[in-house]
Structure formats: C-alpha cells, structure tokens
Symmetry: C2
Subunit: 139 residues, 2 copies
DNA sequence: ATAATTGTATTAATACATTGATACAATTTG
DNA sequence: CAAATTGTATCAATGTATTAATACAATTAT
C-alpha cells in the first residue's frame, strides 16, 4: 500500500495527532475510502520509524470516533457505517466549529462579507473535489 | 468592573487557555470593546482564585496576537490597532480553519448542502449580533 | 496444528506544560 | 517624594502527556 503519511517528531504537535489529522484528511479527500485497509500498526510504525503504540493510539482514537474499524488478526479499515453520533449532536459539533471561525474572523478584522466570500470560494472548491472523488480519482 | 470570566480547574483545558478563549469571545461579542481596560492581573487572579501568573500568561499571549495592549503600571486594554498580520496571512488563517470545518463535516457525514445551510444560519445570526453591538448593547 | 500476522494491554522513562511563590520594574496617585 | 498599583521576570514544584519496551490475544495462512 502506498504511504500517504509523514510525521515530524519536532513539530510540537504529537505524532499520534499528526497521524490522526492525516487519516481524517485522507478519508475526507477520498484517498481512503470506506472499506479500505490501512497499513498494519507494525508496518506503518516501521515506515514512519516510530513505536507501534504511536500508530495504535491514532487508530484507536479514530475507531472510538467511528471513522475506523479495527479487527484483531485482520487489520484496520475505514468504516462503512454511519457515524456514532446522532444527527443533532453532529450538527452541534459543526456549529461549534463554525462559531470558532466567526470569532476568529472577527478578531482578525475580517468583515462578515469578506468571510462569506471566502467561505463560498472554499465550499465551491470542496464540492468540486467531492464530484471528482465520486468519479474515482481519489487524490 | 463586572467579571465575565470563570475557570474550571478540572476541565482538562489549561486555565490560561480557558481565559484566552473567553477574552477572545468577549471581544468578538462586543462585551469588551477596543480601548476597554481589563481587570488587573492581581484583581482577576483573586477573583478567579488562581495565581497571577496564570492571568498574566493569557494576557501576554493575547498581546502577542495583537488583541490586547499591556502597559506596565497602567493596566491591560483591548487593542484599538489593526491586527499584526498582513491581510493575506489573515485570510490564509481563516481558510485553514474553514478547511477543518469542511473535513470534519465530511467525516460526520454532513452533506455540503446541509453544511451550507448551517453556515448561512450561523452567519445570519452573527451579522445580527454585530448590528446590535454597533448599537451599543454589548452582550 | 503451527507459524505468522494482526490489534491490544501494561508498564515505565522522559520530557514538557502548567501552575505557583516570589521578587523586580514602571507608572500612577496622594 | 513615597506609597500603591500595575505588568514582568525568574525559578521551582508538580502533574500529565507522549513515546517506547514488552508481552498478550485473536485471526489468518501454510
């Protein structure tokens, strides 16, 4: 399996968190699809020259979040199930993230109008990407 | 001065970070306006039953970000200046935050359409709030 | 069956972040 | 000018997070 991932031991960000982010991005970007198998804990540990526990921790937390499924003896896969949280909870989570954007935007002196323009631009790019993913070219 | 702030020592989130968030929210929400003086390091430390250094750290980091201005012997105030970062950098920062929203939204199985609906609702509420702040009723 | 491969659990070493105690420095107030 | 008030700096104590070493358990492959 091709290896999307790369860790920086001196970035300040814990390596297991770096990996989590990269997996989430790979799934959201279509590079990893539901059902896909991830590298084994040991294989990836060797490739990234890090302790297997570091990989396991990232996998574990993403399983807890419902994004991955780990099966002992078989491997770890991108989940094909619905997320664990109820729709309302998921909306609450997104609203909270959006609030952070609004507050940060205000403190950066970005007007609501400019912010909305940026939003529309990013969302459009995102939708375009989703279309391409559906056609099959993941990343 | 009325005290907007409250800290939870056992929340897992460091208290100086809790305070930073609350100050940023208070500024963005209009409860604190440019030029307003914040409680002194000691005064707030007593009110929140925490070490003065904890308050000072939050103030310091927000000053480094350009949100506050501290003057020895005088006090700490909400900045009236423009932010330190260039416009392009500020836009980059917001785009990065928006990207996080998009990725998280995808992994939560929220459609782009639904996400946009939530965005428009939140933005509308935010604009409404900004209008009220301009009229003077901060918080 | 046995070996190999996978994820899991336990424990420990280490570094770092957080908070506090205390003293210092600049400005304002009387 | 002296006292009070403000932010700043330094140092130490402590807890916690991160990573690693190692052994265990389940499944698959031979």
């Amino acid at each position: 399996m091709k290896n999307f991932f790369h860790l920086n031991a001196r970035s300040g960000v814990p390596m297991y968190l770096q990996l989590k982010e990269q997996i989430k991005t790979a799934v959201a970007g279509g590079a990893l699809r539901p059902g896909d198998q991830l590298p084994s804990v040991r294989e990836l540990a060797v490739a990234l020259t890090v302790n297997p526990n570091t990989i396991a921790r990232a996998y574990n937390e993403l399983e807890r979040d419902g994004l991955l499924i780990a099966e002992q003896g078989r491997g770890t896969f991108v989940s094909e199930k619905e997320p664990l949280l109820k729709e309302e909870e998921r909306h609450t989570q997104i609203k909270s993230l959006i609030n952070k954007v609004l507050i940060e935007s205000y403190n950066l002196r970005i007007t609501a109008e400019k912010l909305n323009a940026i939003w529309e631009e990013r969302l459009k790019a995102w939708k375009e990407r989703l279309r391409n993913v559906q056609k099959g070219d993941g990343e």
